[in-house]
Amino acid sequence: MSNPQNSRYLLIEDVQQVFKTKKGPFVALKDINLSVKKGEFITLIGHSGCGKSTLLNLIAGLTMPTDGRLICAGREIAGPGPSRAVVFQNHSLLPWLSCYENVYLGVERVFAHEESKKQLGERTEAAMALVGLTHAQHKMPHEVSGGMKQRVGIARALAMEPQVLLLDEPFGALDALTRANLQDELMRIMAAKNSTAIMVTHDVDEAVLLSDRIVMMTNGPAAKIGEILSIELDRPRDRVAMANNQNYQDYRTAVIDFLYRKQGNPALKSA
C-alpha cells in the first residue's frame, strides 16, 4: 500500500450534485470528499433520501456531478463502464435471458476480445459456482427465488473482474436469513479477490460486519459526509462471535448514535 495510487485508489473531490426539479434546483449532495484505498470495503449509511444512492451513481458514472470530480485508478470517471460493476438493488436481471446468459453477457463484454468462447464459458461457470448457483444456472430469472436472483446479480458483477465493485442496497429486499447467508458469502468472496467495494446500506449490522470504514451521511437536502468510522475488527469476521465482541457492540452503538441521536430520522421528526 505504499504506492500513492493504491492508497488513494478512488478519489472524490469537492463533489456537489444538484438536480433540476419543477420547484427549482435541489441540492442533493454538497462538499463530498472521500479517498478510498485499494482493496478497502466502504459502506455508505444514512437515512432514506440522504443521497447515498446518488453518490453511488456518481461513482458508477451513471450520472455526472454538477461540481467537483471523481477519480478512479488515476483517471477521471467520465461515464459508466465494466471496470466499476454495479450490483443493483433489485437485481436487474434481463428476464428473457437465463441466469447463465445474464452473467455471460457481462463476461463477453469484458473478455471477448482476448479469450475464446470456451474460456468465456469457463469464466461464467466459475462465477456461478462462486455464488453457489451451478445447479440453477440454466433457469430463467423468474424461476428462481429473490435471493438467488440477487446472487446472479453479484456473480455478473464479479465475473467482470471490476476494479471497484459497487453495491446499491444489494440485500435490502431479502429476508433476514438469506441476507445473512449472502453477507457471509460476500465477505468470503471479497477476501479471496481482494477487491475494492463500495456498498450503500441502511442496515447498521450489515455495515459494521462488512466494512473497513463506514461513511455516515447527514440528512438531505445538501447531504454531506457526517462522520467516518474505521472498523478495526480482525478478518475473517464471524457473525456469531461478533454478537459477544465488545468492540463490535461499540461500533454498532456509534453508528446508531449518529443515525438516531445526531441525525434523527427526518421522517419521524416531521411527523
Partner: protein, 292 residues
Amino acid sequence: MLIDPKSLDTEMVDEHAERAALREREARRIALRDQIMSYLEPIAPFILGSFGFILFLLIWQAIHIGISEIPSPAFTFNAAVGLFSDPFYSNGPNDQGIGWNILSSLRRVALGFGFAAVIGIPAGFAIGRFKLFGAMTSPIINLLRPVSPLAWLPIGLLLFKAANPAAIWCIFICSIWPMVINTAVGVSKIPEDYTNIARVLNLSEWKVFTKILFPATLPYMLTGVRLSIGTAWLVIVAAEMLTGGVGIGFWLWDEWNNLKVENIIIAIFVIGIVGLLLEHCMITIAKRFSYE
C-alpha cells in the same frame, strides 16, 4: 283454557323433529345446488353464449317476418351450405368461389401489413430511441394517424395505376400507425434498470438492440401488430368495395348488385369469423413472447 301438559310435550317434540327435518332438507338442497353449480360453472359462458345466440336468431327471424327482404336464418344457412360446398370454383375473374375471395383479401392484408411492419417497426425503434427523431416525426404522425386510410386510395391509384396495389397501399397506411406508435412507446418505456445494465456493461449498440431493446419492446410491438391486423381487416372490406377485383369486400358489394341479401349476411359472418381467427392467432403469439 285447559291444556294437557302431556300433549304440549309431544307437540314440542314434534316441532323439534320438524325443524330438524327442515334444516336437513335445506342442507340437502344447498348441497345439491352447489353440486349442480360446480358442473355448470365451467360451461356457464358457453351456455349463456348459446342462449344469446339463439336470442339473436329469434330476433333475426322476427325481423324477417316484418321485413321480407331480409332472408330468414334458415334460408341464409342453407345458402351458406351451398356456398361452402364448393368454395374454390372459378368461372373467370368476376365469378369465383368464396374461398378464393377470402384468400385474395387475406393476401392483400398480408402484403400491405407486411410492408407496414418492415417499415413501421424499425421507424418505431428509431422514434423511441432517438428523442430528436421522435420530436421531428410526432407532429406529422399525429396529423396523419386519424385520417381514414380510404382517403389515401386515390393517391394509391395515382402512384400504382392499378386497383389491386392501391388496395394494398390502403392496408399499408392503416397498419403502419399502430406499429410505429406501439413500438416507439415500448422503446421509451424500457425500465431504467435495463438501460442502466446496458450502460454499466458498456454494450455495443448492436448488443443493446438484440439483448435489451428488442426483447423488452417485443410485447408492445406485438400489441401494435395485433391492432394493425384488426384495422387492416376492417379496411380491406371497404377498400375492395371501391377497387373491385376478387376479394370478400368486392364479393359482398357484388352480391348487393345481384340483390342476394343472404350472401351479404354470409359475407358479414365470414368477415367476422376471419377477423376473430386473426386476432386469436396474434394473442397466441403474444402469449408465447411474454416474460414472467
